[in-house]
């Protein structure tokens, strides 16, 4: 088990800089998820921790060793790849035993360790099969087995669930989380799926374009996003963002939206009148209220438990999530009330959160 400390890490490909001085730390036994859109540098960062990519500048420490110049095998890590990268010509047993053989463990030890890992992952019956004889979920488990058999200090996962169907993905999500609880190992997990990030991580690192936008627990990030990017990236459906300018009316600040409508702003906001801002309202913070604003339903998407409704208030398009099956008809008018007390405000130029 070990801490992982990343300090001012830069990655260049020739002239192109893809990571611009990233710093983060993962404490011993923590499950940290790196999340962000494609091309944000999350997989590159993970591969740098693994030793598969060189480090252009900065330091990566695992435990109390700087590992910048160490080979992957010297870093005491294991990695699960998106494609699983199982050796097609080896049985499940041989796949799992490969690293132990290279480490010159005794036959007896290898058998014990492989059997133990197989038991944890429910693979005992599949040990003599080849990867091509396994289902997607089983291959996934073998890839994890290959990682845990070595008992590494840090586990690295590179989008391991993205090749699975939706149902299996949810199941494996639970299995990986259970594995983390059982092993208590440090795990760093890369995904572009914010739902995976929210449900699995002890902490989330949100990245965009080679920089870290925010680090925190899933609920911290959800409840107090540091900027409008994080606000719209985390949460499904995305947060509604209304562009406008802050105005002062009757000693109270309001948002004069670009479409001319006026929206209330949270109280005690530390912002001057005339500032261009974005008002952020989560879809589940829009409530049905006969005394509220008139809205027109444009698209209604029932998910069973909830109903997602795309609605238009004035000229502003918003998404609302309502429990159960609200009495809303397509193209008909109904009334909604955004909960302003839970709304977020971001500077429109810098995108940064404006607090109280």
């Amino acid at each position: 088990m070990a801490n992982v400390t990343i300090t001012d890490v830069v990655k260049n490909y020739g002239q192109l800089e893809v990571l611009h001085g990233v710093s983060a730390s993962v404490t011993d036994g923590e499950f940290v998820v790196l999340v962000g859109p494609s091309g944000c540098g999350k997989s590159t960062l993970l591969r740098m921790i693994a030793g598969l990519e060189s480090i252009s500048d900065g330091d990566i420490e695992i435990g109390d060793r700087v590992v910048n110049d160490l080979e992957p095998k010297e870093r005491d890590i294991a990695m699960v790849f998106q494609s699983y990268a199982l050796y097609p010509h080896m049985t499940v047993r041989a796949n799992m035993a490969f690293s132990l053989k290279l480490a010159r463990r005794s036959k007896q030890e290898i058998e014990q360790m492989v059997n133990r890992a197989a038991e944890i992952l429910d693979l005992s019956a599949l040990l003599d099969r080849y990867p091509r004889q396994l289902s997607g979920g089983q291959r996934q488990r073998v890839a994890m087995g290959r990682a845990i058999v070595r008992n590494p200090a840090v586990f690295l996962f590179d989008e391991p669930l993205s090749n699975l169907d939706a149902k299996l993905r949810v199941q494996m999500r639970g299995e990986i989380k259970a594995l983390h609880q059982r092993l208590g190992a440090t795990m760093i997990y890369v995904t572009h799926d914010q739902m995976e990030a929210m449900t699995m991580g002890d902490r989330i690192v949100v990245m965009r374009a080679g920089v870290i936008e925010q680090m925190g627990t899933p609920l911290e990030i959800y409840d107090t996003p540091a900027n409008s990017f994080v606000a719209s990236f985390i949460g499904s459906p995305s947060m509604n963002l209304i562009d406008g300018v802050v105005h002062s009316a009757n000693n109270q600040l309001v948002l004069q939206a670009d479409d001319g409508a006026t929206w209330p702003l949270p109280s005690h906001l530390n912002v001057k009148a005339g500032t261009a801002v974005q008002l952020g309202i989560r879809p589940e913070h829009i409530y049905l209220d006969p005394a509220g604003l008139p809205a027109e339903a444009i698209i209604i998407e029932p998910t069973g438990a909830d109903t997602h409704v795309q609605l238009r208030v004035g000229k502003q398009l918003l998404t609302g999530v309502f429990r159960d099956r609200p009495d809303i008809s397509l193209n008909a008018t109904f009334h909604v009330r955004p909960d302003v007390s839970r709304a977020h405000v971001f500077d429109r130029v810098s995108g940064k959160r404006i607090g109280a």
């Binding site: 693994a50 030793g51 598969l52 080979e71 992957p72 095998k73 890590i77 294991a78 990695m79 790849f81 998106q82 494609s83 699983y84 990268a85 199982l86 050796y87 097609p88 010509h89 490969f98 690293s99 290279l102 480490a103 080849y130 990867p131 091509r132 004889q133 997607g136 291959r139 290959r146 090749n163």
Partner: protein
């Protein structure tokens, strides 16, 4: 026309097309087989009958003794052994060198790699016959005339194998190598334990081509090996040709015998080449 009648007509048309296709293929196959048939047919008749006009497709008397006579008249066993030594050595060296250089060209990063590959490939454009005299001079200078090294070494370092294996290695997912690196494997270990086992179809093909090319190689062994004892099979067979007579039936019997190892190898390796390991497995089923 009813649907059923239409289906019947379609089936008849498909059958007719199948017969036509297979007939054409069988005809071409027969054309290819004829030289082999002619060789065996001439191997089991008397020399007089080989040269007799009109030509007879089948011999009047099957003289199976020709095989034994061809084998014993000249040191055929020795020629056979020489051919095995030369062909196996060249094949082993070629596969070994091609694996190493193919891997280097596919995966290692070093300055000038791609330019060096182009230079390598350019040598494929030089006709082999042009190299005979310079190679002979070099081999002569090194004192390798009439030695196995002299026959083996100049032909064992071809470019084709490096290029073939490089192309095949490039098709193996990089993630497999990365997984092996994390598992603790060195470059050489990755090559031996991951890349080569996965490349057996290409290596099998290269082995087969190299072995058959060397088994049939005539000119180079003829030039380098001066003594009859050191002759390989193709060279040895020419000894049935003298200034006065040519024992065509013995040449054909010898040629038939000399084909056997190549045929066996082709049959054995065929399975390996066609039953290639599915690289798809373990790649997430994509």
């Amino acid at each position: 026309m009813t649907t059923r009648a239409k289906a019947k007509a379609d089936a008849r048309r498909t059958l007719a097309l199948d017969i036509l296709n297979h007939g054409a293929l069988a005809l071409v196959a027969l054309l290819f087989l004829f030289p082999f048939f002619w060789m065996v047919s001439n191997a089991v008749r008397s020399n007089a009958e080989v040269l007799a006009i009109p030509v007879r497709i089948l011999p009047t008397v099957f003289d199976w003794d020709n095989f034994a006579k061809a084998w014993t008249t000249l040191p055929f066993g020795r020629f056979f052994l020489n051919s095995v030594i030369v062909s196996v050595s060249v094949t082993v060296i070629t596969v070994l060198v091609s694996c190493l250089s193919g891997y280097a060209f596919a995966r290692l990063k070093f300055p000038g790699r791609d330019k060096l590959l182009m230079a390598y490939l350019a040598t494929l454009m030089v006709p082999g016959i042009m190299l005979i005299i310079p190679l002979f001079l070099i081999v002569n200078k090194l004192g390798m005339i009439n030695t196995f090294q002299g026959v083996i070494l100049p032909v064992a370092f071809g470019t084709f194998g490096s290029f073939l294996l490089r192309q095949f290695f490039l098709s193996i997912p990089l993630e497999l190598e990365e997984a092996a690196r994390i598992d603790g494997a060195s470059r050489l270990r990755i090559l031996v334990s991951i890349i080569i086992p996965l490349s057996m179809p290409a290596i099998g093909l290269l082995s087969l081509f190299t072995f058959i090319a060397q088994w049939n190689n005539f000119l180079w062994p003829l030039i380098v090996m001066t003594g009859a004892d050191n002759a390989t099979l193709p060279v040895g067979l020419t000894l049935f040709q003298t200034q006065q007579t040519t024992a065509w039936n013995y040449i054909m019997a010898g040629a038939t015998l000399s084909m056997i190892p190549g045929v066996i190898l082709a049959v054995v390796l065929q399975k390996l080449i066609y039953n290639s390991i599915s690289l798809n497995a373990g790649m997430g089923g994509r």
